[in-house]
Amino acid sequence: MSETIPVATRLELLRTMIRIRAFEERVGELFLRGETAGSMLHLSVGEEGAAAGIALAMQPGDTFTTHHRGHGIFVARGGDTQRMMAEIAGKITGYCRGKGGSMHIADMSLGHLGANAIVGGGIPAVVGAGLASKTLGQGSVSVAFFGDGAMQQGICFESMNLAALWKLPVVFAAINNQYGMGTRIDRASATLDFAGRARGFGLEAVEVDATQPERVWIAASALIERARAGQGAGFIVANGYRFYGHARKDKSPYRDPAEEAEGRKRDPILNQKNLLIGEGLLTETEYEAFWQAANLEMDAAESFAKQSEWPGLSTMFEDVYDPSSPPPVPVEERLNRVLGGAL
């Protein structure tokens, strides 16, 4: 297990987390102004350490699935923030042509097998991706990202067992932000030792502090490379805190204000900044420059999303089936056929 971490990676962790937060804050604003599509927007502010730490430990060609709070992970995996923002706004230029929105962003070219609005729904796909990697000798690892809430979904354990049984190049990554919606983990889970639970399914399992992104990166790298080497599937739980409510408008009345204040102090960005500044690897100016660049990037993403068009009504019928077969017949056309007397 490598305990050393290149300086470039240490800086990249910080830069990535800043980009994630800038992205999340920006889409949060758009949401509040009614400029995103849909009633739900889940921000990963506070959890950037888990996303950046694990995502940067992955290699090009690796695949992954994410959950409803998955923007940050994809930003860290190289997602195009313009197309992401356009998708969240429901525009035709978005990753999914406006059909998927915030909870269904995907990008096959970057190995993103898709975000999922079903808690736990995207987990077994990584078992399949791991199987394909092994069978076809692709050399890739597949990582499932999900929240602590998914640790109570049966599919999570069926998937773990399969991946471990078949020694697939797969890693399960639970981002534990202490809550599933309004339910604190100790009111949802009979035990809080998620790593122990995963060991019960034959996984190499490790628990890390998500607010220390370098520790996340080191632990994730070890698991991912172990899995890639054919030594078995792994599990990592990264513990952090959800700074905002469950969805953007939720004020989390179910959380203790003292707990919240405490939780928000555990900021992975500040932790990493202080670490790097402390070691003389970063200056305040450089830190500010990261932010400026991130904000400029998000300005561009925002205007791209705004200037993009809505999808045309007829696109609705596209993408149900492969383009080699005809699209579904619109209801309107069915009525025409019936009333016109034609078939």
Partner: protein, 338 residues
């Protein structure tokens, strides 16, 4: 979390209230009347329900009867089944009916079949509440209308209240049902308001929400309101549409339905679920069977497009029936042969 003996508080009959408040009051009244009634599901307690239906119930009835659960849909339904078989009257909640797919074995292989497989020894008196439908750009996994699945499963009752009074009375009736009831609440209706009447017909009785002699609009749940709007538009043009609210699909009031269509000779079925093999197919088949000799025109179906529900607002809105599209179809139905 325990509460003092509840005030003998009466429900706001005759007043205008929200659909979600009507649901809440129904649960509250039944929980007060019968200590066996419990509410179980994700976020039903502290959060008060994803759409606020159960706000205040945890405070009144305590943690033993209002149970927040982990995110384990199959176990939630399975737990309700076991509880219903051993003396409780559970109201289980799935936050979205789309999640029923995670619990379908418990719903369709267990709850629906237990009475039958066990030769009538016991029933499963539970209610399974869930949010359905489009209207908030929630995407393909949070917007479905899956009533046809449940209707296709013998043993399950299926209720789809469209009005505040039905939200209240059908839910109370469902809680009293000796058989499992899938109770589908449309997300676009939670904030809708209406006067809470002091009574409503039982499950299995369709209600004519508007008289009319030229055609019958057959519908339920949110599309009732679209049909009523369309009927108003049509009335201005001299077309009088009867608007029939089925309220429950199982039991179904085929008689009222057949009588109306026999009278008007024309039927337009309006549902929000995916058209193919959906609820409107069964309704069309039933009407055809019962009214063959009376039909002036083909029975029409106006339902959701045969696509997953897209997020983008214009696409989502365009994928299900609207008042405008209903009115247009109705006009064409009357115009074809003069």
């Amino acid at each position: 979390m325990t509460s003092p003996v509840p005030e003998p508080q009466s429900v706001a009959f005759g007043q205008e209230i929200e659909y979600r408040a009507a649901l809440r009051e129904a649960i509250r009244q039944e929980m007060r009347a019968d200590p066996r009634v419990i509410l179980i599901g994700e976020e039903v307690g502290r959060y008060g329900g994803a759409y606020g239906v159960s706000k205040g119930l945890l405070e009144e009835f305590g943690e033993a009867r209002v149970l927040d659960t982990p995110i384990s849909e199959a176990a939630i339904v399975g737990t309700a089944i076991g509880a219903a078989m051993t003396g409780l009257r559970p109201i289980a909640e799935l936050m979205y009916v789309d999640f029923a797919y995670l619990a379908m074995d418990q719903i369709a292989n267990q709850a629906a079949k237990i009475r039958y497989m066990f030769g009538g020894q016991i029933g499963v008196p539970m209610v399974l509440r869930a949010t359905m439908g489009t209207g908030r750009s929630s995407g393909a996994q949070h917007s479905q209308s899956l009533e046809a699945l449940f209707w296709h499963t013998p043993g399950l009752r299926v209720a789809l209240p469209a009005t505040v009074s039905d939200a209240y009375f059908l839910l109370r009736q469902a809680i009293h049902s000796p058989d499992p009831v899938v109770f589908l609440e449309h997300k676009a209706l939670y904030a809708s308001k209406g006067v809470l009447q002091d009574q409503a017909p039982p499950m299995g009785v369709a209600v004519s929400r508007r008289p009319g002699q030229h055609l019958t609009l057959v519908t339920y749940s949110r599309q009732l309101h679209h049909c009523l709007q369309a009927a108003d538009e049509l009335a201005a043009e001299g077309i009088e549409a009867e608007v029939l609210d089925l309220r429950t699909l199982n039991p179904l009031d085929l008689e009222t339905l057949a009588q109306s269509v026999r009278r008007t000779g024309r039927a337009l079925i309006v549902t929000e679920d995916t058209l193919t093999a959906g609820a409107s197919a069964e309704l069309s088949a039933l009407i055809q069977e019962a009214c063959f000799d009376y039909l002036e025109e083909p029975i029409l179906r106006l339902s959701g497009e045969d696509i997953p529900i897209p997020v983008s607002p214009p696409l989502e809105a365009g994928s299900v029936p609207s008042p405008d599209r209903i009115a247009r179809a109705a006009r064409r139905l009357l115009r074809r042969r003069g």
